[in-house]
C-alpha cells in the first residue's frame, strides 16, 4: 500500500463531516466499537478490505447487504489476521506481476472483538506481527463476549458483572494487558484509542497511514447492552474512562511508549464505574469502599509508574 497522509487533524472541524460506512447496520444503539470504526474508515477511505473475526461486527455484512464501500471478508474467530495475510500477499503478487494497477491497491484491515483479540485469535495475531504483515488491526474491546450476551473474557475488568460472573463480587480476574503483549512484538505501531476522543483517534489513524507493517489499534468500546447503561451515555462513559485514567491513551513506536492524552487531574474511578450497571454492586445496596479502593489503587499505581518515567 502506498503511504500518504491525507489530512491533518488539529481540531474537531478537521474531522470528516460525513460517514463512509452506510447506515442501518444491526449494531446496538450507542455502540462504542462502531463509532471507532466510523472514524477509522472515514480517514482510511474506501480502498480497504476489512477481514473480520467472529464477533458483533460480523453482523455488519449480512447477505445481501453491506455498509462497506470497499471489501469485506468474514473468516473465523481465530484466524482473521491469517485471512489478512492471504489478501495482502495475493494483492502484492498481483501488483508485482502487473496484473493489478497500483491504483487498485487496497489497505487490509482486520476487525475483531476482544474475545478473539485477547484469546482465540491471539496466536494468529502474534504470527501476523512476527511476519511483519503490512496491515491494520482494530480490536473493538467491549470487555466481554458481547455478541453472545456478554460472558466474561480475558478483557473483562475486575469486579464487572457479566452473564457468567453474576456473583456479588463480579468477575474475580483482571483485564489482560494486550497493549504490552502487542508492543512486545515490536510492530510498526500500537495504540490505544477510544471513539469518545475522536481527535486523538484521528491523529493516530493519520499517523499509522504513513507506516508499513503491523499497525495495531486497541479501542475501548463502551457497550450499552453489555455494560448495562443507557446508549446516550456512551460518549460520556468513554470520556470518563480517559479522565479517570482507567483507559490510558497511548502509543508505541520504536520501543517507546508515549501517552497521548494524560489527564491533568484524574477524576475518581467512581465517576466511571457508577454509570454502569455492571459495577452497580460496588455502590448498591451499600458502597463497597474496599472494592472501589482496590480499583482506584490499580489505576493510581499505573499512572505513578507513568509519572516516574
Amino acid at each position: 500500500m502506498s503511504k500518504q497522509a491525507s489530512v491533518h487533524f488539529h481540531r474537531m472541524k478537521d474531522m470528516p463531516s460525513t460517514h463512509l460506512l452506510g447506515t442501518g447496520t444491526p449494531m446496538c444503539a450507542g455502540c462504542g466499537g462502531l463509532e471507532t470504526l466510523h472514524t477509522l474508515y472515514d480517514i482510511l477511505g474506501k480502498k480497504t478490505v476489512f477481514v473480520n473475526a467472529a464477533g458483533c461486527m460480523t453482523l455488519l455484512s449480512v447477505y445481501p447487504f453491506t455498509p462497506f464501500r470497499g471489501g469485506w471478508l468474514y473468516t473465523s474467530m481465530a484466524s482473521a489476521p491469517a485471512g489478512a495475510q492471504g489478501v495482502r500477499d495475493a494483492v502484492d503478487i498481483l501488483l508485482k506481476k502487473k496484473k493489478l494497477p497500483p491504483e487498485e491497491d487496497v489497505e487490509v484491515v482486520v476487525i475483531t472483538g476482544d474475545g478473539s483479540a485477547y484469546g482465540m485469535g491471539m496466536s494468529a495475531t502474534s504470527g501476523a506481527m512476527d511476519r511483519n504483515l503490512d496491515f491494520i488491526y482494530l480490536c473493538y474491546d467491549n470487555e466481554g463476549y458481547g455478541n453472545t450476551g456478554q460472558q466474561y473474557s480475558a478483557a473483562t475488568p475486575h469486579a464487572a458483572l457479566t452473564s457468567t460472573s453474576k456473583g456479588s463480587h463480579g468477575y474475580p480476574g483482571y483485564k489482560k494487558d494486550l497493549f504490552s503483549i502487542w508492543a512486545a512484538h515490536n510492530p510498526a505501531y500500537v495504540a490505544t484509542v477510544i471513539a469518545a476522543e475522536p481527535l486523538d483517534l484521528a491523529k493516530k489513524v493519520e499517523k499509522l497511514q504513513t507506516m508499513t507493517g503491523p499497525r495495531m489499534l486497541l479501542s475501548l468500546a463502551p457497550c450499552p447492552t453489555g455494560w448495562d447503561y443507557d446508549p446516550e451515555l456512551s460518549v460520556e462513559i468513554g470520556r470518563l474512562a480517559v479522565q479517570t485514567g482507567v483507559w490510558p491513551l497511548k502509543e508505541y513506536i520504536d520501543g517507546q511508549v508515549r501517552h497521548t492524552k494524560v489527564p491533568k487531574q484524574r477524576k475518581p474511578v467512581d465517576e466511571y464505574l457508577q454509570l454502569q450497571g455492571r459495577f452497580r454492586h460496588l455502590f448498591e445496596p451499600q458502597r463497597d469502599a474496599t472494592g472501589i479502593a482496590e480499583i482506584q489503587a490499580r489505576v493510581d499505581s499505573y499512572w505513578d509508574k507513568v509519572d516516574s518515567q
Partner: protein, 413 residues
C-alpha cells in the same frame, strides 16, 4: 520405466511447480514437510516464481489459502493428519467461499494414540466439507493429479477447492520413477488462473463470506456447493481425457484392474490398493476371477458409475483403511449406499485394515477372497472384520505385560 526417481512428496511439489502456483501458505507436519521444503528451495533458487509464507498453524494456513485464492492468485498448500484436523474449521469454511485451490494431504493416522504412519481417517474427516478429493496410488499419479485437480477445481462449473491425497511413508517417502510432464505442456494444460468474481480491488467493492439470516439462503448456498461438486463428475471425465490426450496417461475416476470378467472384487483407495493388485495377480494365477476397483475420485462420489460396474458380480470386499467409531468402514457404507436395491447387487463384505500403516499381507487378501467365495456359495454375507493376526495379538500382549510390570514397579510400596 522412464523418468526421474522422486518421492511422493517431491512429486506433489512438482505438481505445484508445474501448475505455476503463485502462493503457498505452509506449515510443517510429518510426513508432509518435504513438500514445502522442496518448494521453498526452488523459490529461494529462483526456479519457481511464487511466494511462500509459513503461517503459525494449519488453521491460519488454510485461512490464508482461501483468502489469497479469493483475492485472485493460484494457491497451493499441503498438510497431514493432525494438521488437517486442526484446520478443519477452515476446511469447511473456505470450501463454502467457493475458492478454487489445491491442497495435498499426506494421510497419517489420527490421535489417539498418536502415530506417524498412514491411514485414511484424516482425509475421511474432510469428506463432507465441500472439497473435491482425488486419491493417489503412485508417485506418478500424484504429480499428474495436482495438475488435474487445478483444472477441476477452477472449472467454471465447479469452483471449489480440491484435496489430492497420498499415503504417508508408503508414498510420501518412497521413491518411484516419475515421468514429469513437460513444463510448457503442463502450463498449456492448466492454463492461467481465472479468479472470475473472486478478487479484492481498490475501486470495485466486493463482500465475500458474508453471514446469512435464516435457513432459506443458507440452504440455497449449501445446495449450490453440493451441485457444483456433482457437476465435477462430468468435468472430471473431460479433464482426464484431455490429460490423456496430451500426456498419454489415463486416469479414470474409477481405476479398474482385471475388472472385465472379475467375479470377486477388492475395493480400496490409495497406495495400499497396490497390495490388492498383487493379490489379484496371485489369485488369477490360481484361476480365481478376481479384480480391483480403486476409486480415484472420492468426492464427488461416482455412485452411478460404481453401481454400473459392480452389478452382476458375485461378491465385493471393501477394505477400509479407516474406522468410523461405532459404525465401521466409511468406504463400505458408501458402497452399500451405491448398491442398495440394485438388481443383481453382489454380496458386500466389510474389512478394516492398514490402520496406522499396519501391513495387509497377501495371505490376508487370499483369506478375504476365500471368504467372498464362501459367501457367494452360501448366500450369507460375512460379518465385518478387523484384520489382526494371532502373531500381532501375541506381540501386543507382550507389550501389555511390560507395561504392567513397569506400572507395578513404580507403584511398589
Amino acid at each position: 520405466m522412464s523418468g526421474k526417481l522422486l518421492t511422493g512428496n517431491s512429486a506433489a511439489a512438482w505438481g505445484a511447480r508445474l501448475a505455476r502456483a503463485d502462493y503457498i501458505p505452509a506449515f510443517p507436519i510429518t510426513p508432509q514437510t518435504e513438500i514445502i521444503e522442496d518448494l521453498a528451495a526452488w523459490i529461494d533458487r529462483g526456479e519457481m516464481d511464487a511466494r511462500m509464507v509459513t503461517l503459525e498453524s494449519e488453521h491460519s494456513m488454510i485461512t490464508a489459502a482461501g483468502s489469497a485464492a479469493s483475492s485472485g492468485v493460484r494457491v497451493f498448500t499441503a498438510t497431514s493428519s493432525q494438521g488437517l484436523l486442526y484446520g478443519m474449521e477452515m476446511i469447511y469454511t473456505v470450501a463454502g467461499w467457493r475458492t478454487p485451490f489445491v491442497m495435498v494431504n499426506v494421510s497419517r493416522g489420527l490421535a489417539s494414540p498418536i502415530t506417524l504412519e498412514s491411514d485414511h481417517n484424516d482425509i475421511m474427516a474432510a469428506r463432507d466439507s465441500g472439497f473435491l478429493q482425488i486419491h493417489c496410488a503412485t508417485c506418478q499419479e500424484i504429480a499428474d493429479s495436482v495438475l488435474i485437480a487445478y483444472r477441476l477445481a477452477e472449472h467454471a462449473d465447479v469452483r471449489v477447492p480440491a484435496i489430492v491425497n497420498l499415503d504417508g511413508f508408503y508414498l510420501s517417502f518412497t521413491r518411484e520413477p516419475v515421468d514429469l510432464p513437460d513444463a510448457s505442456k503442463a502450463q498449456a494444460f492448466v492454463g492461467d488462473y481465472d479468479p472470475e468474481n473472486l478478487q479484492f480491488r481498490g475501486n470495485s467493492p466486493l463482500s465475500q463470506a458474508m453471514a446469512v439470516l435464516g435457513g432459506g439462503p443458507y440452504s440455497y448456498f449449501r445446495y449450490e456447493a453440493h451441485l457444483a461438486l456433482q457437476q465435477a463428475l462430468t468435468v472430471y471425465d473431460e479433464v482426464a481425457e484431455e490429460f490423456a490426450g496430451i500426456f498419454g496417461r489415463h486416469y479414470p475416476m474409477l481405476d479398474c484392474y482385471c475388472m472385465d470378467d472379475a467375479e470377486y472384487v477388492f475395493v480400496m483407495i490409495g497406495s495400499f490398493s497396490t497390495k490388492a493388485r498383487d493379490a489379484v495377480d496371485g489369485l488369477r494365477a490360481a484361476g480365481w476371477k478376481t479384480g480391483l476397483l480403486r476409486p480415484r475420485l472420492f468426492r464427488p462420489f461416482p455412485q452411478t458409475q460404481i453401481r454400473a460396474l459392480l452389478q452382476g458380480r458375485r461378491a465385493i470386499a471393501v477394505i477400509d483403511q479407516n474406522i468410523s467409531m461405532g459404525m465401521g468402514g466409511v468406504l463400505h457404507s458408501e458402497f452399500a449406499m451405491a448398491l442398495y436395491a440394485a438388481t443383481g447387487a453382489p454380496i458386500l463384505a466389510s474389512y478394516i485394515g492398514g490402520l496406522g500403516g499396519r501391513d495387509i499381507s497377501q495371505q490376508e487378501f487370499f483369506a478375504i477372497a476365500d471368504e467372498l467365495r464362501q459367501a457367494h456359495e452360501s448366500g450369507v454375507t460375512p460379518p465385518p472384520r478387523m484384520l489382526y493376526t494371532d502373531t500381532e495379538l501375541t506381540e501386543m500382549r507382550k507389550l501389555q505385560a511390560i507395561a504392567q510390570a513397569e506400572h507395578a514397579e513404580i507403584h511398589q510400596p
